[in-house]
Symmetry: C2
C-alpha cells in the first residue's frame, strides 16, 4: 500500500464543513495519498473562551503534519478574539502568501479573459505586526518594520516559484520614492536576488501605478512580489477584476509548515444549505497536492474541475443563463467533478504539474552577510507638548541639555519647525527633538548610550514628557535615519 | 473695472509651459477675473543648487496670493532633490488632496461610462511623513503617525465638500481590522463627524475591499475619504479605470493656501512639440475658479471644454478614428475650447456651479476637546541582539532591572517570544522588551519617567544596545498601546 501523507484538516465555520466535505470527497475519489487528521478550530473554540480560536491539541497536529487544509473561519465580533489566520501566520512563520489569480471567461464574467498571475505577498512584517502606541491625547502611531531577512526570504521565494513553475517575469511593487529606507530595502533586495535568476525578466513599479495597472491591465503581469499591506490590497483588486473571489485558493507558506485555504470567507448566511461553491477550497487543495509532491493527482483534479466549469455545471454564485447548463448544489458539483476525473478541459489550458519539480520551496534568505560597523551618533526624543509651547521657546529650553550632542532640528510630523521654519501654523503637540553629535551629518562622532540617558534625565528635570526615543546610528558611515523635510 | 484676484502661476517643466499657456489663454478669453503673478520653480531652480526647487521669492508670492496654479515639475534624479509637491503640501499645510474622477465615454475609452466620484485624500500624515530609522544591521522602520486633528480636518472637509457640491454619500476607507489604533482613530472620527451631516449617507469599507470595488465597480462611489497612502493608491486606480489620467485636475487644499494642477507629469519626451493635452491643467484651473468664487466662469470654461471633447476635437493622446473628428495640437485645442465659450455640451451633463455656494472650505477639526488623564505605566525597550541571544536567556538577564516595573513580555516583530512562546525559530535580532508597572493590564499603576531612565541605565550596564523606546501610557484608564500577539 502506498504511503499516505498525513495532513491536518480544519472544517471551519459557516459553509466550511460542506465545502470541506465536498473537497475531501474529490480528493478521495482522485486517490490522493493523504491521511487527514481532523482538528477543531474557530468559532466553537472561541466561544469556549479561547481567544486564539485554536486549542493546544490542534497546534500539536499541525506542527507534526506540517500541512494544514483549512476551511473559512468566523471570528466572533468584540471580546478580544484574535484572527486565527494572523495567529497561524505569525506562530508558524508562514512568510509567503501565494495567490494565483486566473480568469475563467466566459463562464465567470471579467473584462480580462487572459489573467494568469501569481501574487507573492510578504506575510509577517510591515504595518501588520500590530505594534501601535498612543503618545499623546491626539497622536497615534503604528510601526512599519521591515527586515532584511524578511525581504530576502519573500523575494527569493518569488523567484524560486517563478523558476519552478516556468514563469517568465517577476514584478516588484514598492513605494520607495516615499519610503526610501523601508521600501527602499525591499527594492534593493529584489535587485540583488534577481541577479541569481538571469533567465527571469524583472520589473519594478511604484505601488500606486502598479495597482492601477492590475486594475486596468492585469494580463500584463506574471509573478508579483510585494510587501504585506500592498499585497493585501492588490490580492483583492486582482481577484475582483478576474471575477474569481469565489473560485480562488491561497497558500500560506513557511519553511516548516504550509496552510491551504479558499480566499473567501465563511458566508454564514448560506451555511448548511448545500449552496456554496467548493471551488476556492478545492483549488487550495490542488496547491497543497503540488506542495506535498503529488503533482499528477493535482493535475487530475484541476483538469476535472476545469472540465466541470466548461461543461456549464455551476453552483448558483456563477450560474448564468448564457454560459451555464445546470445549476447544482455543493454536493452535486463535487459529484460532477468526480465524474470527470481523467478528462481534460478543451476550452481552458490543461494543468500539467511536472512530477518532482514543484515540491516544497524553502527560502532562508541566504545572501552573504557582512556585519557593518554600527555607531551611535544621536537620538530623536519625541515629546508630548500639550500646552503648545512654541518651537523657539522649546529650543531655548533644551538647546544645551544634550552635551556632547547638539540640538539640530525640531520637527512635527516629519516637518522642520525649528530652526528657520517657514511653517505658519505648525502642529506643536507632538514634536521630535533631534540631537546629533554634530550639526553636520558628515562630521558625526560616536556617543555613548549613557549620553542619551543623561539627556533624558535633563528632559525629566525640565518637566517635559518624553514619550519615545529613536536612536540615530550610522552603519559603515551611512546614515541610519532620514533627514527631516527641511533639515 | 472688476477686481482681479491675484493668483500665483508656475509654468513648470517639460510640457508645463505649453499647457499652462493654453490654459491661461482660455482663462483670459473667458474673462476670468485673475491677475497672474509668474514664479519660477522646478528643474531650473533645482539645477541652480536649490535642493527644494523653490526660491524665497516664489514662497513670498504664494503666501500672499494664497492660490497657486502649477504646471507639472521634473525633479532631477539623484543629488538629494526634494519633491516640490511634498514640500509645498507640508510647508503650506495643504491637508486635503481633492481628486475628481469622471468618465468621458465614449470619447475616452473606459469599461465604466458613469464614473463621477471625488477622492478626498489626507495629505500630511501616515507613513508619508518620511520618519524612518534603521535600528540594526537588518531592521528598518517607518513611523505611521495619525493625529486626531488631522483626521478631523480631512473628514470634515469631505463632508463639507459633499454638502456644498450636493453629493449624496461619503465612503470612508481604512484598515482598522488590522491597525486598530491608527486606522481605528480615522474610522472613529469619521463616525463622530458624520453625525453632524445627517442628510449625507455614510459607508465604511476595509481598504482592500474598497480598492477592489473602485477597480471593478467605481460607479457605486460618490465621495471617498481616506488616509494618505490608501488615497495615493486609489487615486491612481480610479484615474486608470476611468481612462482620465491625461484629463483630470487635482486640488491641494489648506486653510490658508490652495494649489491646483493636472494629475499627470511633465512628459519631457513630448515637451515643446505642441502635442500635449492641456485638459488636466485646465480642469485644475476650473477647480481653482470655483475656489476663488468665480463659479460662472468655471461653468463657462468646463462646458466649452466638454463641448470640444464631444465635437471630436482631440489631441493625439485621446484621438481615435471612431470617436474623433480632428486631431489637433495643444494650441489648436485651446483655440477650439475658446471658440466654444458660451456653448453647452449635449452628450455630457453641463456644469452649473452655483454662485457663492462653493467658495473656499476651511476645516479646523473643531470637535469639542476633552483632555484625558494620561498616566505613564511602562515602557517598550527595543534592543539590537546581534548575537541572537535566546529569549529565555535575555529574559533572565533583564527580569529584575525594571523595578518598579516588571518584564511582562518579549516580542519580535509584534509576536511574543517570551514567556511561553510556541514559536520554533523566532527572529531574535530585533526584540522589544515590555516593562509594565503590573503584569495585569487591569492593575497598572503610574510610574515616573525617572524609572525609565533608571531602566535604560541598567540596560547600558548589561551592555545591551537599546535602540529605541516607546513609553506605555493609559488615557483615562484606557490602554494607549496594543497587546502583543500572544500577550
Amino acid at each position: 500500500m502506498a504511503f499516505k501523507t498525513p495532513i491536518t484538516v480544519a472544517y471551519g465555520d459557516g459553509i466550511g464543513p460542506e465545502i470541506m466535505q465536498a473537497t475531501l470527497n474529490i480528493l478521495e475519489a482522485a486517490n490522493a495519498l493523504i491521511a487527514p487528521e481532523i482538528i477543531e478550530v474557530g468559532e466553537k473554540v472561541y466561544l469556549q473562551g479561547n481567544t486564539t480560536g485554536i486549542p493546544d491539541k490542534a497546534w500539536e497536529s499541525i506542527k507534526r503534519t506540517k500541512v494544514l487544509l483549512k476551511g473559512p473561519i468566523t471570528t466572533p465580533q468584540g471580546g478580544g478574539y484574535k484572527s486565527l489566520n494572523v495567529t497561524m501566520r505569525k506562530t508558524l512563520g508562514l512568510f509567503a502568501n501565494v495567490r494565483p489569480c486566473t480568469s475563467y471567461a466566459p463562464y465567470v464574467p471579467t473584462n480580462f479573459p487572459n489573467i494568469d498571475l501569481i501574487i507573492v505577498r510578504e506575510n509577517e512584517e510591515d504595518t501588520y505586526s500590530g505594534i501601535e502606541h498612543r503618545g499623546t491625547d491626539e497622536v497615534y502611531q503604528c510601526l512599519k518594520l521591515i527586515t532584511r531577512p524578511g525581504c530576502e526570504r519573500i523575494v527569493q521565494y518569488a523567484f524560486e516559484y517563478a523558476r519552478k513553475f516556468n514563469r517568465k517575469k517577476v514584478t516588484c511593487l514598492s513605494k520607495d520614492n516615499i519610503m526610501k529606507m523601508t521600501d527602499g530595502l525591499f527594492h534593493r533586495v529584489f535587485n540583488e536576488i534577481a541577479k541569481q535568476y538571469p533567465e527571469i525578466q524583472t520589473e519594478h513599479l511604484i505601488v500606486d501605478i502598479g495597482t492601477a495597472l492590475i486594475a486596468s491591465n492585469p494580463e500584463r503581469f506574471d509573478v508579483i512580489v510585494t510587501l504585506n499591506l500592498y499585497g493585501d490590497i492588490i490580492s483583492d483588486v486582482d481577484a475582483q477584476v478576474a471575477g474569481s473571489v469565489g473560485l480562488a485558493g491561497s497558500a500560506n507558506i513557511g519553511n516548516q509548515v504550509a496552510m491551504f485555504e479558499a480566499i473567501h470567507g465563511s458566508a454564514p448566511d448560506i451555511a448548511g444549505k448545500n449552496m456554496a461553491n467548493p471551488s476556492g477550497l478545492l483549488n487550495g487543495a490542488v496547491q497543497m497536492l503540488v506542495h506535498i509532491n503529488q503533482p499528477e493527482t493535482a493535475s487530475l483534479i484541476e483538469n476535472a474541475w476545469l472540465k466541470t466549469i466548461e461543461d456549464g455545471i455551476h453552483t448558483g454564485d456563477i450560474y448564468s443563463s448564457k454560459h451555464s447548463k445546470k445549476k447544482v448544489g455543493t454536493q452535486e458539483f463535487a459529484a460532477a467533478v468526480i465524474e470527470r476525473l481523467g478528462q481534460q478541459p478543451t476550452h481552458f489550458k490543461a494543468a500539467d504539474y511536472k512530477p518532482g519539480a514543484y515540491a516544497k520551496i524553502e527560502c532562508y534568505g541566504d545572501l552573504p552577510k557582512t556585519k557593518s560597523k554600527k555607531e551611535l551618533v544621536g537620538v530623536d526624543v519625541f515629546i508630548d507638548n500639550p500646552l503648545d509651547i512654541a518651537a523657539d521657546e522649546l529650543a531655548a529650553k533644551i538647546a544645551n541639555i544634550g552635551v556632547p550632542m547638539e540640538l539640530v532640528v525640531i520637527t512635527s510630523r516629519g516637518l522642520k519647525i525649528w530652526p528657520d521654519s517657514s511653517i505658519e501654523a505648525p502642529y506643536l503637540r507632538h514634536c521630535c527633538c533631534r540631537f546629533q553629535s554634530s550639526k553636520d551629518v558628515k562630521q558625526l562622532k560616536p556617543i555613548n548610550h549613557a549620553d542619551i540617558v543623561h539627556l533624558l534625565t535633563q528632559f525629566n528635570e525640565l518637566g517635559i514628557d518624553t514619550i519615545k526615543t529613536e536612536n540615530l546610528y550610522t552603519f559603515d558611515g551611512e546614515l541610519g535615519f532620514t533627514l527631516a523635510q527641511g533639515q
